[in-house]
Assembly symmetry: C2
Homo-oligomer: 129 residues x 2
């Protein structure tokens, strides 16, 4: 998605402006894009929290990487095309290598979708193999 | 997604081959793509079932369109890049304008992810407004 996520207190935030190629019904974003934003920002948030917990910079070695174990998205209202979407996430639970992240996607201050990502940290030796 | 779905008995099926731009960890597809495939094929399946129930061709008027109300995806194993993925769906329940579709995504005959889409048929007057 090429999104850049940053911390904002206990939350992480990123923005993304959907283009016409992301259309479902004319004027509105397709559900898969919203799911992708929540997946991408959610696993990124899980990784950011893991680096923060270890007091490490995000470009330090070895890399901490997370894969999606499950994704749930509820679409509350149609999401408009062409305006910036704000994706906010927070850590709900950390249980060993499994991190649960909740997220919202808003347009113009209105929440259009909310979701939950369960991300699992990969074992180091599995990376790149 | 530009996928083409077709009926195969009581199921619908489509195939999609992920490219390098769909990478999460090297060699594997990111979760959002899987979610997008299930969303896209799932809402398409809901629409196909609605046309079939009315005995109509899919290009007949007025159009029957569905929006995603919720999406749930469980990732069972990493999904490889570069091989065709088969997405299969079936109607689980039709309740008024709400259709629940279950789906699987397989690579080389192994199920990599399974999902459930709740799709809601748009009211005709809302389309294009």
């Amino acid at each position: 998605m090429k999104i850049q996520s940053r911390w904002d207190g206990a939350e992480t935030v990123c923005t993304f402006t959907p283009r016409s190629c992301h259309t479902a019904i004319p004027g509105y974003v397709y559900g898969g894009l919203i799911a992708s934003l929540i997946d991408c920002h959610g696993t990124g948030t899980a990784a950011a929290a893991a680096y923060r917990a270890e007091g490490r910079a995000m470009d330090s070695q070895p890399p901490l990487r997370f894969l999606t174990a499950s994704l749930q998205v509820d679409y509350l209202r149609p999401t408009p095309i062409g305006v910036p979407l704000e994706v906010r996430a927070r850590i709900e639970e950390v249980k060993g290598r499994k991190v649960t992240v909740t997220a919202t996607v808003s347009a113009g201050g209105e929440v259009c979708a909310k979701g939950r990502v369960v991300a699992v940290q990969m074992r180091e030796r599995a990376i790149g193999s």
